[in-house]
């Protein structure tokens, strides 16, 4: 806009000769007002300055000066240098994330991933959908691994004897090491590395061997997660490993194998397993899983028949099963001493079932089991014709590495002058009898390459900081052999090295750059095709590089030697206990000890966070006299959790085996073999970061090389002390409630029964008026979502006019309880951890949690009978042999959300697409919403978790404030970081929904269809859904009848948790099915939770005439209206 002074008055000559211009009608009219204003240079307010003194001027201008001083600092440029975001990676759109393919290597496998990066910093990992066996899913550990990248406690510098080393010095050091030993052929040089699936490392190791033929290359892994090659060698005469095809297996026998979690390739197997378990229509087939195990694993929790048996008895069991399946076998002698209740019937029925499914069954042995057990499993699979159908054997290269015991011998005799420890943490987890830390100190020069400064670094002169896999170039092979790239998302934050770089520098390679090393390896495979390499990086895998399937034939003779030294199963008792060294669900071998997400993630079975514990069976607990006394009446269960005001007070025990003792809290775990005590590995680090410090006890300290997985002859004594365990679920029983609705497959498939609609007969809604009235019967799901047919309500339902209506379906039948969703949600939504102390105070922040219930069919909830006489209810003790029901629970986005009506400030409201949204800025924190949430999924920020140190929360403003820069980097920029005093909860990943909508809109606008804004199904995935390995979660638009979620919700076994409350949750569940074998001795007509439900709601005494009529209405007479007597379950070996 031009000002008046831009148009000066015309000069005299202009006035005389030029054309007459006027600046406005006012001038033409020559109004006095215009004349007055013309005289002013600055029209507004200027006159007040005119003719005033300096004082007046200062007064008028003071405000301007003040503002200038505050805002612009006198127009000086900032002194700090800023870097323009001028040059950036191709394709970067500021504000939008970029995705790169990479992979997380772990032992002999890797999980292909896509890393989400924001301006060059990875914040979230997803499974790489290009790798079809995983279908875009990822695991708990993959989800959590991004946090390790930004761990402030990781090794941040290379050090030698406490002094920092520059990168150049490190390079010299490594080069010198190589040149020093080149003359001796490597004599005196030794390496101790982790197992690896990296082809580049294999190539470099081969070079190393040829350059330093006398050097020792040893590999050590504390966890055995692949079947021993010795068994395959003996059985087939080849170096092969089994690759199970669970999707094709209708009957599965697992012999102490946790193939859903602890085995390598568990992600692969879990997906396949779930495929054969998914039931969509009532006649769909479903697999049957027999799990025999000593500890309580996720696999066991999915089992249709679970047998508790000591790990040391597995060989006898396998032999007995083989005997039964094959009629007779030379292995009969091995089964001597096996003893469990109703053993003959059990084995016969199971064997019969297997024989009836030749070629479509599978016997799987746990990797930690000795080769003999695997040999029997191979024999069974061979006999049952499964090889090539439900199990393939693929060729793998045997690793010629020495063992850690061999290396230790060499060190002892002084044959090692320089030791390079590549990764791992042998000083912490090496077999106890080696006393590795002392041994390592006896070597004159130890170079330790590791991610953390840990026990091994403490015993090494030189520590080289390792790069995180998200900072490093590398490659790896998945469980089926597909080669995948490990691509860095970010330059090493602290100049960390990669393993292949270290090796190549020692080798004196010309080119030590890891990228070039990988490039060279892959180049060899692709014939130097640059496009293929680019495609490899882009897709995140090299197609057709799976391990070749080998035709094998079982040879009984070869396996003979394996059985010769097999010990007879020892009779176990309180004085002769078996110890099972188990893979911890979260810590793996201990490498995740400083990962707060994993520490705070509850163990899926025990629900313990931040610690491990000595797990004992209820039977043993009773014998030790630590089983809590039962309650006066069943319903209240006072004291059953043995808790002091809600906190699990675990008695401290000492486990002694072969003269070694470890001390830890005892947790009574139902479902364990009676005299097996389980010690999860991976805790109790002496040297670790702030998160892992003081967490748990170190079970490695009593584990020797001969007892890597289990040992007998242990004793457990009580110290009399008690310590607190942060258990997130105090109550283990469903109390006969209709929460997880279960049925047996034969009930569902009974033509006279209700089929999959059994869920309707269980719920309380079956007895309450239908929510939608009679008209509801005719309504489609979409109409139900948008119309408000409820009669006489004062309140209008929220306005559901959005184009999308979001909903979720969770299949309880396939959920294996792996916890990947919990950590995926945590990573996606910037959910803080609260620490052990606050977890103990019941303030964990997870937006999605996994409820775990035990049932033994005895609880009948007849509290009144207990109180006023009558037959007392049975379920007073912790069950010895329960069934487990798992249920993931997050915000259900209720359409008539009880949280919304009670918020006084409208901070939680509904949007028109059916989301129950939180306005954090509006929330004042009355917490009424959390009280009124029947699912208890709302989480309150009791402290400033993000701004305060977790051990100094109670110091308030006196404590340090602020988040470390490194920790800030992991935060998802698309999600608010909540402050203290506000409520938070699951939003169905609203940021992903909005992103998806925007991207789709842009895409459609570009395609010339701007009106087409409905996002197609599958384009938006919530974080939990995306991570889920078994596709148990469907999420999408329920208005679209073709969407996966609509189809899931249309299934007969879809039900709403607490549906009777008429809050209309948008998340619904698909009922859980069990598939027990009617011929088995532990067969029950109904799942235990169902029996409890029936007994509670329809106890025999109250079973009157009026229910008779209803029974016919509800179909099958045993779907919930009769009291059911439980079959006695089969206990462990006693």
């Amino acid at each position: 806009m031009k000002r008046k002074f831009h148009h000066p008055a015309p000069s005299e000559t202009e006035l005389k000769h030029g054309p007459k211009y006027w600046r406005s009608l006012d001038e033409l009219a020559s109004t006095p007002g215009f004349k007055a204003r013309l005289a002013q240079e600055f029209p507004e307010g200027a006159s007040s300055i005119e003719g005033v003194d300096r004082r007046q001027f200062m007064k008028v201008m003071a405000a301007s000066f003040a503002l200038g001083g505050v805002g612009l600092a006198g127009c000086r440029r900032p002194e700090a240098n800023i870097l323009p975001y001028g040059k950036s990676v191709e394709g970067v759109i500021p504000g939008l994330p970029l995705y790169f393919a990479t992979a997380m290597p772990i032992r002999k496998t890797a999980i292909p991933l896509l890393a989400e990066t924001h301006q060059g910093r990875p914040t979230k990992l997803e499974g790489n959908p290009s790798y079809t066996p995983h279908g875009g899913a990822s695991s708990l550990h993959a989800q959590a691994s991004v946090l390790d990248l930004y761990d402030p406690d990781r090794a941040t510098a290379h050090t030698q004897d406490g002094a920092k080393l520059t990168s150049a010095a490190v390079n010299d050091l490594l080069a010198k090491l190589g040149s020093d030993y080149s003359s001796t052929g490597g004599a005196g040089l030794a390496f101790l590395a982790e197992e690896s699936a990296s082809p580049t490392r294999a190539r470099l190791v081969a070079k190393l061997r040829s350059k330093f033929p006398s050097a020792i290359w040893a590999e050590y892994e504390p966890l055995q997660d692949e079947p021993p090659l010795a068994a395959a060698q003996a059985a087939f005469g080849k170096d092969v490993k089994p690759l199970y095809r669970f999707a094709k297996a209708k009957r599965i026998v697992s012999i102490d194998a946790d193939f859903l979690h602890a085995e390598s390739g568990s992600l692969y197997f879990a997906r396949e397993f779930a495929k054969a378990r998914k039931v969509i229509k009532r006649d769909d087939p479903m697999n049957r899983l027999y799990a025999v195990e000593s500890t309580f694993t996720l696999t066991g929790s999915m089992a249709d028949h679970r047998l508790r048996l000591a790990s040391s008895h597995m060989l006898a069991f396998a032999a007995a099963l083989a005997n039964n399946v094959m009629g007779s076998s030379p292995l009969d002698v091995l089964s001597q001493g096996l003893d469990f209740p109703r053993q003959t019937e059990w084995l016969e029925a199971c064997a019969e079932d297997l024989r009836n499914h030749k070629g479509e069954c599978l016997v799987v042995a746990g990797s930690h089991q000795p080769p003999a057990v695997h040999a029997i499993a191979y024999a069974l699979n061979s006999y049952l014709g499964n090889i090539g159908l439900t199990v393939d054997f693929v060729a793998v290269e045997s690793s010629p590495a020495a063992s850690i015991t061999d290396l230790a011998k060499a060190v002892k005799v002084g044959a090692v002058k320089s030791l390079v420890v590549l990764g791992g943490n042998p000083a912490y987890n090496a077999p106890a009898e080696l006393d590795w830390a002392a041994l390592q100190k006896s070597v004159s020069s130890v170079i330790r390459y590791g991610y953390y400064v840990d026990e091994t670094s403490a015993a090494a002169g030189t520590h080289l900081a390792a790069a995180h896999y998200l900072e490093a170039w590398g490659d790896a092979r998945t469980v089926d052999g597909t080669i995948v790239p490990v691509q860095p998302m970010i330059l090493p934050l602290f100049g960390g090295l990669t393993e292949i770089e270290v090796l190549s520098r020692i080798l004196g390679e010309e080119n030590t750059d890891p990228y070039s090393l990988v490039h060279a390896t892959i180049g060899k495979l692709t014939g130097g095709d640059e496009t293929a390499f680019q495609k490899f990086l882009h897709d995140g895998l090299l197609a057709d590089t799976t391990y070749p399937v080998v035709k094998v034939s079982f040879d009984m003779k070869g396996t003979g030697p394996l059985f010769k030294s097999a010990p007879a199963p020892a009779a176990l008792s309180r004085s002769n206990l078996e110890v099972r060294f188990a893979t911890d669900h979260k810590m793996d071998d201990g490498r995740f000890i400083n990962n707060g997400w994993l520490q705070e993630c509850p163990d899926p079975i025990s629900k313990i966070t931040w610690d491990n514990a000595i797990f004992v069976s209820p039977r043993l607990a009773k014998e030790l006299d630590i089983l809590p006394k039962d309650s006066l009446i069943q319903v209240a269960r006072i004291g059953l959790a043995d808790s002091d005001r809600g906190v699990e007070m675990a008695p401290v025990g000492e486990v002694t085996i072969n003269g070694r003792t470890v001390r830890g809290p005892i947790h009574i775990q139902p479902g364990l073999s009676n005299y097996t005590i389980v010690l999860p590995l991976g805790y109790g680090h002496a040297v670790t970061g702030r998160v892992g410090e003081g967490s748990g006890f170190n079970a490695y300290s009593i584990r020797t090389s001969t007892t890597q997985a289990f040992a007998t002859g242990a004793s457990l004594t009580l110290t009399g002390e008690r310590v607190k365990l942060a258990n997130t679920q105090e109550h283990w029983s469903m109390e006969g409630r209709d929460l997880v609705r279960e049925a047996n497959l034969d009930e569902v498939q009974d033509p006279h029964g209700a089929g999959l609609a059994f869920v309707n007969a269980i719920g309380l809604e079956a007895h309450s008026p239908p929510i939608y009235g009679e008209e509801g019967e005719k309504m489609t799901l979409a109409e139900k979502a948008t119309l408000t047919p409820r009669g006489n309500s004062l309140y209008e339902s929220p306005d559901y006019k959005g184009l999308h209506q979001w909903g979720m379906s969770i299949d309880l039948n396939t959920c294996i309880g792996c916890n990947a969703c919990i950590v995926a949600c945590q990573a996606e939504n910037n959910i803080p951890i609260v620490g052990k102390d606050q977890t103990l105070r019941g303030r964990s922040m997870h937006w999605i949690r996994l409820d775990r219930y035990y049932s033994d069919g005895k609880a009948d909830g007849r509290a009144m009978a207990d109180l006023f006489g009558g037959e007392p209810s049975g379920n007073r003790d912790i069950p010895e042999d329960p069934q487990v029901s798992l249920q993931p629970v997050a915000c259900m986005q209720c359409e008539l959300a009880p949280c919304e009506t009670v918020c006084p400030v409208n901070a939680t409201v509904h949007d028109d697409e059916g989301l129950n949204v939180m306005a954090y800025n509006r929330c004042i924190g009355t917490r009424y919403c959390a009280n009124n949430c029947p699912y208890k999924v709302r989480r309150f920020n009791y402290f400033d978790w993000n701004q305060r140190e977790l051990d100094k929360l109670y110091l308030g403003p006196l404590g340090p404030q602020g988040m470390p820069e490194l920790v800030k980097m992991v935060k998802n920029p698309e999600v608010t970081v909540r402050m203290r005093g506000v409520m938070e909860k699951c939003t169905y990943c609203v940021q992903r929904i909005e992103n998806g909508k925007i991207q789709h809109k842009v895409k459609m606008a570009k395609a010339g269809r701007p009106g087409d804004v409905v996002v197609p199904d599958g384009e938006i995935k919530s974080a939990c859904q995306q991570a889920c390995p078994v596709d148990a979660i469907d999420f999408g638009n329920i208005l679209d009848p073709e969407s996966a979620v609509s189809k899931a919700k249309a299934r007969e076994h879809d039900y709403a948790l607490l549906g009777y409350l008429n809050i209309r949750p948008r998340t619904t569940y698909l009922g859980k099915l069990r598939n027990p074998n009617p011929h088995m001795p532990d067969y029950d007509k109904m799942p235990f939770s169902r029996i409890e439900n029936a007994n509670k709601n329809h106890p025999p005494a109250a079973h009157g005439e009026e229910h008779g009529a209803e029974e016919s209405k509800h179909g099958h007479e045993e779907t919930g209206h009769t009291s059911v007597k439980t079959n006695t379950r089969i206990g462990g070996l006693s």
């Binding site: 809600g646 309380l764 009506t901 004042i924 009355t926 959390a930 309150f940 403003p957």
Partner: protein
């Protein structure tokens, strides 16, 4: 009356008119005390030298009150986590305390308003102190809902103040109703208390003026608003007082009804109960009278006011306590009956869990204090034993605190999904902050008895025989 007695006729067998014998009413002011005595007695408390015991009590009360102040300051600086709250017990002690204090505040207005409308003359000597108690209890109560929120600096979001974001309050939320209910109640209670005090303030003004204390005279004079005691003043005053009594009467019922909605409107088993409004109101009056007895009996003893607060007063209050306590007991029983009759297993469990679950101890404390204790008041001997009455009133207070604890904590600890069940225990900050509110209350109450007339002199005079124009004559 048309009837005239004719003594010449013989007395008929059946009387034409029944003349009920007039039972002597209990004297509201005993020993025929005159106006001057009453004035001297009540004003004497204010005019006399501050007693030593007052200073001691005041010092101790201030010290105790500092617990609340420090506790709240620590809470605001650090976070709500310093209290014992957890998932699923997101309301713990603070809301228990809130309902407890607001309940105590009920007796004052009930005595002032409802008994005023019902022309219960015995209210006069206790209403002033009871009203003061109401106001101070509301002050103590208000501390908790305000400071229990996560971000107290945004608590003004609760008020419908026009704002740039154009976000309105949620008028469906019982907490929002609470805001209006409690603030209205507080305002009306203060007004009622103040208006009733005006004639007495004028008396103090005049007395201090005559004694030459200009400062206090003008202070009392300011608050006496120029009261001269003219007929017109009295006429307007009586009308204003009556209107306020009319306004306050529904509030007595509404406040605790709305407080009960905090629970009744939710869907948590144990909260989701239609009996709550009457049950809460009865409970509130019960606890209010408990607290009035707790406070008045020592006051009566200290200032030797047995002539003003007579045995008859105590008797009346005990009877009301008995009546409301029994109502509360009935409500407890009815809750169980409905839980059983409703056949909803979740509801049924909530009540069984109350009585026999991990918080059974608190339930049985509640039952014994609230249901059993008042039954002693059936006995005249108990009612006449002031020590006994005082001890029992303490039990009532304790019981009513536990009632709120039982309702809030047992229901929240075990609701729908057993996976979320947990135990609740308060933190030390919880305990100290609550303890401190007794200090806050005492400080205010001590200031009240020191500086304001603890009894309405004008009203007491009105119920003495001396106020009756036929004083000294027969009752006709």
């Amino acid at each position: 009356m048309a009837h005239t007695a004719d003594s010449t006729h013989p007395t008929p067998a059946i009387l034409a008119e029944v003349k009920p014998a007039i039972l002597p009413r209990a004297e509201l002011v005993e020993h025929n005390r005159d106006f001057s005595w009453i004035t001297e007695k009540i004003c004497g408390i204010i005019e006399g030298k501050t007693p030593t015991w007052w200073w001691w009590c005041f010092g101790v009360a201030c010290f105790v009150a500092s617990f609340t102040v420090i506790g709240i300051a620590y809470l605001v600086a650090t976070g709500v986590g310093v209290w014992g709250h957890r998932n699923p017990v997101n309301w713990g002690w603070p809301i228990v305390n809130f309902v407890f204090w607001i309940g105590i505040g009920h007796a004052g207005t009930l005595i002032s308003a409802i008994l005023c409308l019902l022309r219960q003359k015995w209210r006069t000597s206790i209403n002033r102190a009871a009203e003061a108690m109401t106001i101070f209890a509301v002050v103590c109560a208000a501390i908790f809902p305000v400071f229990h929120v996560g971000r107290v600096w945004y608590a003004w979001f609760l008020f419908p103040i026009p704002n740039y974001n154009q976000i309105w309050q949620n008028f469906r939320s019982p907490l929002e109703w609470d805001v209006f209910a409690v603030s209205t109640y507080g305002t009306v209670s203060v007004l009622f208390w103040y208006v009733g005090m005006i004639p007495d303030l004028a008396v103090l003004r005049d007395r201090f003026y005559n004694a030459g204390n200009k400062l206090r005279s003008s202070l009392y004079g300011f608050f006496a608003m120029g009261w001269r005691g003219s007929n017109r003043h009295w006429s307007n005053y009586e009308m204003a007082y009556l209107i306020l009594a009319g306004v306050a009467t529904p509030l007595v019922l509404s406040v605790h009804t709305i407080v009960s909605f905090d629970f009744a409107v939710s869907l948590i088993p144990g909260w989701h109960t239609t009996i709550f409004p009457p049950y809460f109101v009865a409970g509130a009056i019960f606890s209010g009278f408990g607290m009035v007895l707790t406070l008045m009996l020592p006051l009566r003893a200290i200032y030797k006011m047995e002539d003003l607060i007579t045995q008859y007063h105590i008797d009346c209050m005990c009877k009301i306590t008995l009546a409301t306590g029994t109502m509360v007991g009935y409500a407890y029983a009815m809750e169980f009956f409905i839980a059983w009759y409703g056949a909803n297993p979740y509801e049924g469990f909530a009540f069984i869990n109350r009585a026999f679950g991990p918080f059974a101890w608190s339930y049985w404390i509640m039952i014994s204090c609230n249901v059993i204790t008042p039954q002693f008041f059936w006995f005249k001997k108990v009612r006449q034993n002031t020590t006994m009455v005082w001890v029992l009133s303490i039990f009532v207070n304790v019981g009513m605190w536990f009632e709120r604890f039982v309702i809030i904590c047992t229901s929240l600890t075990r609701d729908f999904l057993p996976s979320s069940w947990a135990y609740f225990s308060p933190s030390i900050v919880d305990i100290f902050t609550f303890f401190g509110t007794f200090g806050v209350f005492s400080v205010l109450f001590l200031l009240f008895i020191r500086f304001l007339p603890v009894m309405p002199m004008a009203e007491i005079k009105a119920v003495t025989p001396g106020a009756d124009p036929h004083a000294g004559h027969a009752h006709h």
